[in-house]
Symmetry: C2
């Protein structure tokens, strides 16, 4: 296969401005004192022959072309992207099906059961935890089920603020339809432009504005989920006391219990006003304390993020040299401490909603921030974050082009535990890096903050040795995840389990919960056709 | 057994002022044109001999005294209360156990399994859907498990806004501890004074201020649930993407899947300010439209209720004649239409939180209300509702003393469907009443309103014929519930399923969901020991 760049976040040239990429590269070289060797030339990808020979699976055509098979077998984790760049791919799906309706998905699932074919459901293909890896388990073949043709808006009720959609709809398409009705879902994960409603639900996604709008699962009022054991349907416009509910069990099941085909969502009015501001804190602890108070206030911000000193410095380096961003930041910091930028932490605090509510929210936020030594650096900084927020994945491609490893990992926890988790993960990463002589940059931010706690998000950057494949990431990932689990963090706040976090999941659940979950799996998917080797810890069959 | 009044909501004399009871009675006689005959003298209750003979079940003592057995066998539904008053009781539990720790509950459940004893978990005993009926199923005896000794506060974290409690703690006790830390759960169901945290979770309870604080299930961040299949534990201070979650399956399971022994709850700051106001609308439709807009605003009220004309009139009749309440209402209504009170609908709109937020909320509410022809009748009316809100169950006792049947039923639905549900239920009730020549008063309110919809709550009052037992309620209940289901309402918004709504539940769930729920039941409670004959539609065993 001819090399091309379809595996980039955005193909056809990075949207991340070249001068800013240069500035980031220069910063990394300065800080880490090293330049990675050029990445090796990609070997041609060898694609094993497909094991699925029929033209259809039940009522749905199966595309068996090699290019498509490869393309639909990978997500967006660093290991996935490195595998594609190096031409060292693992399992490749045996075919891709594109059902166009719930009935077609039902037919497909029934046929898969009859013909002993494993199924990997696929939304936008942006999993960063190996959620799409086409394992066939004990079955004779594996087919990837793309929901992309199921992208219709079924209904939008502006007065009742609910909408019903097919689950293959992409983020921008969904919001385009909603904005015509002056509504929004308010769900903006970093993958927003490429990911789908079904993916959000299957992976229990959380958006950048989840502080105000809640995560995806909180917005679901109904769904249709196709499983080998039958099709589950629920519809609850308001809360009900009608016995045990299934939503929590299905949302977040990552395609292992069923395939989300339709969903009814609670919607919000398109905000009449918004104000995003940047605030600089002299250190991480001040910033954490301030953000906790800000999100616990009666008017919640939509976005509340705090970068640590390392991430703040990298982020400043990544601005257009001529944008004035650095000068604004520096001026703010000079006001704060009379010293240079070093060590300060940038927060983004964004309010959305009715004008009077936004005004009052910003007013109280400003007072809280000041009481924690924060310095307002203005709306320009806030808007700059907002403008750039979907660009960052493309910067990763640009850095990988130059031989850098770039990967993220995350966890969630109560406010009280966040400082200890932060310290433990950084310590584990830097110790592991020192042991392996890896020049590692770790930038961290707090995000998705709510009154009880938030998410800590770590970005790891290091030179990728051309003669290595799994390292340095594998060792760093184990060290960080062990540290997360030891310090009481969640195994994942919003990335999910997939194949990557699966080895740890068993230790997080008691025996009775595992028994119950296995019973649910057996009831819905008795032959373990759905997304084998994901989520569930090993035990005979899944 | 000597008759006494322990089955009253509050024993030792009704807290509902006698002149107000008189005024309500007079109003009912006027409106319905009839006075019920005096209720028959209670026959002495005959209590069957208990089938459980041991002094302990596992590590826990079992009280087998007749008085206690009877008292712990009934909830607070009208059929339950009538049975006690008439001395015509059904099944009586064989004993009552009072475990004092999760370990004791575990021991008790293990012993019940070994000795083939069914268990009925009990919180405050206020079920209005027959959730406590001590059915033994196929087992040799049934023991009621009261959690009342498990009422400790385990921890309260004021900064992180979470608290951990044993599940037998009563509402007022919980709030007393929280208010010392300037926190609140904000969960105030009508049963608040008598019900427990565990009951709220088991029954998926919703409080009167749920518009702001969410219902009980929305506040749970962790729990311990003891089941015959082992003890389930979870703790999620913030959202996680760690595979399928079990909370939705356990909350609302009404004691059929496990016994809640401990829970971690998200808490809110004790509101710095609050403002409750009364508003009169010229009719129900105007009021509904106004309330929809009010709760969809960016600052949510804590309480948003709207009584229809019948309930408004009854409610005005139930005020102290000298309180001026009626005059305030009448003056408001005269301002609105220049006519008399008849036909107008009273809303209560209450705001809580930080002072500036409450101020802004009330300001916008006032404008919205005016645009729908609502007339503010002041804070006195709002505060009067707030003061009286836990008194109403006692009024029911007072009316039952005089031979009246008083029962409530409720449903939930989207804003769009509420008018049709309202019309369908009233039509079904009045048709059934006409057919049976029952003089029926139906008062209705909207409550628990959220941006997507709300709860419709119906109060039925009619003379109870002394020579009848099941009627007129049984026929009215079937007619209303059929109408609810037909018009797309929820089988219950917050009362639950229990034994009362069980015949309808099957029709509300698809086959795959039933299969999954049965698998969950089998995994956790393979011999169906827990709360037999509740919630789950019939099928071999449960």
């Amino acid at each position: 296969m001819a090399p091309n760049d379809w595996w980039r976040w955005k193909s056809g040239g990075s949207p991340f401005p070249a001068p800013r990429v240069q500035s980031v590269l220069q910063y990394l070289v300065e800080v880490l004192g090293t330049t990675p060797p050029s990445p090796p030339k990609a070997s041609p990808v060898e694609i094993p022959a497909g094991r699925f020979r029929a033209a259809t699976l039940g009522p749905v055509a199966v595309d068996r072309g090699n290019g498509l098979r490869l393309r639909y077998s990978y997500g967006m984790s660093y290991p996935d992207l490195l595998a594609l760049r190096r031409g060292r791919v693992g399992p490749v799906t045996d075919g891709v099906a594109f059902p166009a309706s719930t009935a077609e998905v039902e037919g497909l699932v029934a046929a898969a059961r009859a013909e002993d074919v494993a199924l990997v459901p696929r939304g936008g293909g942006t999993s960063v935890v190996g959620g799409l890896t086409p394992e066939s388990g004990s079955h004779r073949a594996v087919v990837t089920v793309s929901l992309e043709r199921m992208n219709r808006v079924l209904s939008i009720d502006r007065r009742d603020r609910v909408g019903r959609f097919e689950c293959g709809i992409l983020g921008p398409e969904l919001e385009r339809h909603l904005s015509q009705e002056k509504l929004t879902l308010g769900h903006f994960p970093q993958s927003f432009e490429l990911s789908t409603l079904g993916g959000w639900l299957a992976a229990r996604s959380s958006g950048q504005a989840s502080t105000l709008y809640g995560d995806a699962s909180a917005r679901v009022r109904g769904a249709v989920v196709v499983t080998p054991g039958g099709t589950l349907r629920w519809d609850r416009p308001v809360e009900e006391a009608t016995g045990p509910q299934l939503q929590d069990l299905l949302v977040g099941s990552e395609g292992t219990l069923g395939i989300f085909t339709e969903a009814t969502l609670e919607l919000s009015p398109l905000p009449a006003a918004s104000e995003y501001r940047g605030v600089l804190f002299p250190d991480w602890d001040d910033g954490l304390r301030a953000l906790q108070e800000v999100v616990q206030h009666g008017i919640r911000p939509a976005v509340a993020r705090l970068s640590d000193a390392e991430e703040t410095a990298l982020s400043v380096a990544g601005r257009s040299p001529g944008s004035g961003f650095e000068r604004v930041i520096e001026r703010g910091f000079l006001r704060a401490k009379g010293t240079r930028l070093e060590g300060s932490c940038l927060a983004i605090l964004g309010y959305e909603g009715e004008a009077a509510v936004v005004r009052e929210g910003v007013r109280t936020m400003a007072a809280t921030v000041r009481s924690h030594h924060g310095v307002d650096v203005g709306e320009g900084v806030g808007e700059s974050w907002r403008r750039d927020r979907f660009l960052v994945p493309s910067l990763r491609d640009d850095l990988m082009d130059r031989g850098w490893m770039v990967e993220t990992l995350e966890t969630g926890g109560a406010w009280k535990t966040l400082p200890a988790i932060y310290a433990a993960v950084r310590k584990a990463l830097h110790e592991r890096a020192a042991k392996s002589k890896v020049a590692l940059h770790v930038g961290t931010h707090l995000s998705h903050a709510v009154p009880t706690g938030g998410c800590l998000y770590f970005t790891l950057i290091a030179p990728q040795p051309p003669d290595q494949f799994d390292e340095p990431l594998a060792g760093l990932k184990v060290a960080a995840t062990d540290a997360i689990v030891r310090s009481g963090g969640a195994l994942s706040h919003h990335h999910g389990i997939g194949t990557m976090h699966r080895p740890w999941l068993g230790s997080q659940r008691d025996a009775a919960s595992v028994t119950l979950l296995r019973a649910a799996k057996k009831a819905l998917d008795p032959s373990s056709l759905l997304n084998p080797s994901k989520v569930w810890p090993e035990e005979g069959g899944h």
